[in-house]
């Protein structure tokens, strides 16, 4: 499959004008960073109208973005931000330290978002354009967090009104209209602080939930560009000369979005490590990916991309159904003579196929697995409350591994029945120690060692049975230029299309 380095990078002179139509795969719940939760569609929308304090670059480092500079004291317990002067919000108000502080305070107070920024103890402005952030422990990765939802800055008026339907930001486009499930339209910000941009006159986003329908809409010309993680759609478009495509399969920044089976390590019989090992050894992931991943989904055996600095051989169990069978036999007496449990999933065609195949694989080594189909909302609720034994999940796509802290730490685990972000309820002191190291040390080698330790421990504890890397791809018609080339003020290139989210702002349209 092609993954051209030049696709998405525009050549020639940018042309001004035109309307871009973007197809997205879901609908968001709103535009207020402290009250809503943005999936990939949320970020795609947000990038057009809002901006964050920092940005992550294509080589995995970070740059200040709305902040002109962001520096830390020697032990990284206090960060100082200096905002860029002369930036105005869409409603004319000024971007200053006070409004940034107000934004951060809301994020820190909101149940939805405060978990992520838990080490922060204080935020205050120290001048018209300067502010400080104090933390209770060295928080090296704070800039990465501030490049995500919690770091997006909205105008004071939106903070006051708590309006989630109408974003007022500093971004290259201005809100025009939002009809949920129908369209989101934005128009060019005439007073955008990065002069010369944007090139487009307006963008219209259309949610089209079914992947094949979105592909059809792209093919009929209704859409100019769309993202998809459906392997068949991706493959269909990959070799079509009427389109150009990029994907995240060979990305190196942070971690990829991974498809996996989530096991509840506190629920019988999955609480038995022998059982988890048997289950891991009986999944033939490459065959699954060949059959249901259109042959393009790479199998995953760990948290990191193959070319990533964090990658290592983590000792994840290999496919060995014979071994799995004997492990199950060994475990059966401890669980009343049978290993019976339910694997839950959502009615997504690819997952329906995958779970039925996995059920077969597990039943063939002696288990008695049944399948339950539930809706996405229930799936999340079950994972949070622990009312599950096994379910299909997709997670972990982040720009820095520390952003996954909350899923792995025992501080976020809780017994079945209470809410826990550590869904698998896997409490491992080795992981905890490594997480702290990764969060607080500024030395790259230490961090790499820490996350490799976590990778190895997870492969040992087996709360997750990895299936494959989510093959997110962005496909555009040939008249769409520069769709993956957002350049930051200092000239460096932003990390680009990631886990289904992309920034449509730098795009220009040409005649074909």
């Amino acid at each position: 499959m092609q993954s051209s380095a030049t696709a998405g990078v525009g050549t020639g002179t940018p042309k001004k004008g035109g309307t871009l139509v973007v197809g997205v795969d879901s609908e968001i719940d709103g535009f207020l960073p402290s009250q809503n939760h943005w999936d990939n569609t949320g970020y795609t929308y947000a990038y057009a109208v809002l901006e964050a304090l920092t940005a992550v670059t294509i080589d995995g480092s970070w740059r200040p973005y709305l902040a002109e500079s962001m520096t830390a004291n020697p032990d990284h317990t206090q960060w100082t931000l200096t905002m860029r002067p002369g930036i105005t919000f869409h409603d004319g108000s000024q971007l200053d330290a006070d409004v940034v502080v107000a934004n951060l305070e809301q994020v820190l107070a909101s149940a939805l978002t405060k978990q992520a920024l838990q080490p922060i103890t204080d935020v205050k402005s120290t001048g018209p354009l300067t502010l400080t952030i104090d933390t209770n422990e060295p928080f090296i990765t704070l800039p990465y967090f501030l490049a995500s939802q919690v770091g997006f800055i909205v105008a004071k008026s939106q903070l006051d009104s708590q309006n989630t339907q109408r974003p007022i930001g500093t971004g290259p486009f201005v809100y025009s209209q939002w009809v949920p499930n129908d369209h989101f339209t934005v128009t060019k910000n005439q007073r955008y602080w990065q002069s010369g941009q944007p090139y487009l006159d307006s963008i219209t986003f259309h949610p089209i939930f079914a992947d094949e329908s979105r592909e059809a809409a792209l093919r009929t010309g209704q859409l100019d560009i769309m993202a998809s993680r459906d392997p068949h759609v991706i493959k269909d478009l990959a070799h079509d000369p009427s389109f150009s495509q990029i994907n995240t399969l060979s990305g190196r920044v942070g971690e990829p979005d991974i498809d996996f089976i989530l096991l509840n390590t506190e629920a019988d019989p999955l609480s038995d490590l022998t059982v988890r090992q048997a289950l891991a050894r009986s999944i033939d992931a490459p065959t699954l990916n060949k059959l249901f991943g259109a042959g393009i989904t790479p199998a995953a055996t760990g948290l990191f991309y193959q070319g990533s600095p964090y990658y290592s051989n983590n000792g994840y169990p290999t496919y060995d159904p014979g071994e799995a069978k004997s492990l199950i036999e060994e475990a059966k007496p401890r669980h009343g003579g049978q290993i019976a449990f339910m694997l839950q999933t959502i009615p997504d065609p690819r997952l329906i196929d995958t779970t039925q195949a996995i059920q077969q694989m597990w039943n063939q080594v002696g288990c008695d697995v049944s399948i339950g189909t539930i809706q996405q909302v229930e799936l999340i609720a079950n994972s949070a409350t622990g009312h599950f034994q096994a379910l299909t999940f997709e997670l972990f796509g982040v720009s820095d591994p520390d952003l996954n802290y909350q899923w792995w730490s025992s501080t976020t685990a809780a017994p079945i029945g209470s809410i826990a972000l550590n869904f698998a309820r896997n409490r491992d002191p080795v992981i905890d120690a490594a997480l702290e190291q990764g969060r607080t040390s500024s030395d790259m080698a230490t961090r790499v060692a820490a996350y490799q330790t976590i990778d190895r421990q997870l492969a040992k504890d087996l709360p997750y049975l990895y299936l494959g890397v989510a093959p997110w791809s962005l496909t555009a018609a040939t008249n769409v230029e520069n769709y993956n080339n957002w350049i930051l003020p200092d000239g460096s290139r932003e990390q680009g299309f990631n886990a289904g989210a992309f920034n449509p702002s730098p795009i220009w349209l040409v005649e074909t």
């Binding site: 719940d29 149940a111 949610p207 089209i208 939930f209 079914a210 809409a217 093919r219 909302v377 809410i419």
Partner: protein, 314 residues
């Protein structure tokens, strides 16, 4: 006459009221609540309690229903807990789509079914009858969503005659509007054709066997005249009842087609709202659907009495 209409209106109110209570109860019975969607995995007990109070969901069911009812009577259907879009807005987005699809699909179905049934009844078990029968059964055997997929593949992706997804409002012009409505209407019409055809055919055949028809024939009236003037009318009872049902089932049964073609209709929005436990949306939609359904069937009943005055107006 006025008494009849008044009685019917009273019935409408009672039925819609009962449905609103049922919808309210059922959607609250579903496990979970909107905090699941809003907070996601951050659904801690404190956050949840706070949010429930904010949304007014910690009050007793009776209180909640009463609040909703009084709001509705003032024209306020509430808003989505998740996107804060007003229910009225969402309904206003959905209704034009469904109305247009229903009208177009039923027209298409009738235009095909009525002539077919007339010709088929002329010669029961003749060649045309058998072909029409088989054809209508074939249309029945294919689920709507399969038809939709195939139609999109052929007419949108391959031929580029119509868009693959989305609905162009009338405000954007009649041409684009019809183009975006034609594929889903055809998909939805398929199931209705068979209902109309079969019901009408059966009734026509039965009516044609009656003696008044024999008498008309013996007077030298042509078969076509007899069919259209004398037989069609009394045979239309079942057709009308079928229309009531066909349209009714379309009001909520269109989810799959709407999902595949991204049409923001009642079916699609209702299922989304249920999944997200967006109570006010669900209640609002159930209310609107009920009103429409009952109105349509009242019209059907009324036309029934027009067709045959001997039918007592209950």
């Amino acid at each position: 006459m006025l008494v009849y209409v008044a009685k019917r209106l009273a019935q409408l109110v009672v039925i819609v009221f009962v449905i609103s209570v049922l919808a309210f109860l059922l959607v609250h019975l579903l496990p979970g609540d909107p905090t699941l969607t809003i907070l996601g995995p951050n659904d801690t007990p404190q956050a949840r309690a706070q949010l429930l109070q904010q949304l007014g969901l910690n009050k007793s069911l009776l209180q909640q229903y009463w609040t909703w009812l009084t709001n509705v009577l003032h024209g306020n259907l509430g808003e989505s807990f998740i996107t804060h879009q007003t229910v009225t807005n969402a309904v206003a987005t959905a209704i034009p789509i469904d109305i247009e699809l229903i009208i177009l699909s039923q027209l298409m179905a009738l235009v095909v079914a009525i002539p077919l049934a007339l010709f088929a009844a002329l010669r029961p078990n003749g060649k045309l009858d058998r072909v029409a029968n088989s054809g209508s059964f074939a249309m029945l055997s294919i689920p709507t969503f399969v038809a939709a997929v195939i139609l999109v593949l052929v007419f949108a992706v391959e031929l580029h005659w119509v868009p693959a997804t989305g609905f162009n409002r009338l405000s954007q012009g009649l041409g684009p509007n019809l183009k975006s409505a034609v594929l889903p209407s055809v998909a939805l019409a398929l199931g209705s054709v068979v209902i109309y055809f079969r019901l009408l055919r059966t009734d026509l055949i039965a009516t044609l066997q009656e003696d008044f028809v024999t008498m008309a024939r013996s007077k030298g009236l042509s078969t076509r005249y007899i069919l259209l003037r004398h037989a069609l009318r009394p045979s239309s009872f079942s057709l009308l009842a079928g229309a009531g049902i066909s349209i009714g089932s379309l009001l909520t049964g269109t989810f799959v087609v709407e999902y595949l073609m991204q049409l923001d209709g009642l079916g699609f929005q209702l299922v989304n709202a249920i999944n997200q436990r967006d109570y006010l949306m669900v209640q609002g939609f159930a209310l609107v659907i009920a009103v429409f359904y009952v109105l349509i069937n009242f019209v059907v009943d009324f036309v029934l009495t027009l067709l045959d005055p001997r039918v007592r107006r209950a």
